[in-house]
Subunit: 210 residues, 2 copies
């Protein structure tokens, strides 16, 4: 099946959105916790997390300013703090439900059946059920000119994970905690570990690190 | 296990890099094909693909200017064209091997055992074995101030997928083509579809679209 730029332009806009979003493939489903200046808590699922760097430890994610998830963006820009929460596969329906358009004064955390947790006087809520919890501080806003999306970059203030998760070299296998993966805006996946491979060199084939 | 910002700063730098990169979770493994002005082809694996928008169809990925993958960045900035190639799980070793530091005049496509393909006089090579092939045109370079990484954004010129892959609403389930997922720089995964859920509304629980 061949689709040209012209074919894509003429396509029904919802079909195109679903196609293009899903073709970007697998992502981690991350639940972003935030809090307004007035102390109202918020939780929303995002599928656009990327690793920006390790020193300092930086993650980014994308916001579309015109969506329901504007509360998250506003809270982060106002307070400077937010949380990443990675939940396991069995919570996929609750995770998805955070994308409903709840009023700003309703906390999605309780509304979908998760438990709100606060840590270290951090100014953003965590999801108690999350196997991996990361507290972030806002660092840089990147405005993408071509379509007005915004990338929010933050640094890790602290993180909390099961002590058995990191291997001896620091690698965390998300499938060990059965963490939820997603595709597009509505499809959920579990992942199965295949292999880790040695640093690639030109004169030999990579070896399994299993 | 609790790790503060200070704990992360004091950590061995390789341990920290592996930890922080792997905590970003699942990604699609995308092989980016490009070509120098002189016509030398190049292929490199990236784990930082994000969907930027559907109208126009835009994808982004991150480059670290100081890595072996500089060839990809240079080629894209010089020619303005590149390709995304998604391969299936059985090709994970070849995909990984594209990250070896081959000389600029060696094409990783043949060196790792893939087959080079050209389409529509497009100025960048495809991987013949890829189940999903996307031709992209460079649109925007975003310089991330905090650590000097670069996001490259491109629009879809054309794409080629198996005619049976898109469902009636445009959704492509990457696990149908057994596409390769990855975590960090060296871990590979296969994914299993769980469910698709209806558009979330505040007054009811999402329904399965399976």
């Amino acid at each position: 099946m061949y689709l040209s730029k012209n074919d894509l332009e003429k396509m029904d806009s919802r079909y195109r959105a679903t196609l293009i979003n899903s073709l970007a493939g697998y992502k981690s489903a991350v639940l972003i916790g935030s809090q307004s200046i007035e102390g109202k808590t918020n939780l929303a699922i995002f599928n656009s997390l990327i690793h920006i760097g390790a020193n300092p430890p930086l993650y980014g994610f994308l916001c579309r300013p015109d969506t329901v998830k504007r509360d998250t963006l506003n809270n982060i820009l106002e307070t400077g703090f937010y949380t990443f929460n990675f939940v396991s596969v069995e919570h996929y329906q609750k995770a998805h439900q955070t994308s409903a358009k709840y009023d700003s004064d309703v906390s999605e955390i309780a509304a979908v059946g998760f438990t709100e947790a606060f840590k270290n006087k951090f100014q953003a809520p965590f999801v108690s059920e999350a196997a991996v919890k990361i507290g972030l501080k806002f660092k840089e806003r990147v405005d993408i000119k071509i379509n007005g999306t915004i990338m929010i970059i933050g640094s890790i203030e602290f993180l909390e994970i099961d002590v058995h998760l990191p291997s001896t070299d620091g690698f965390v296998d998300p499938s060990k905690a059965n963490l939820l993966a997603c595709v597009g805006l509505d499809a959920y996946y579990k992942a199965e570990f295949i292999d880790r491979l040695s640093y690639a060199k030109t004169d030999k084939w990579p070896e399994s690190l299993k």
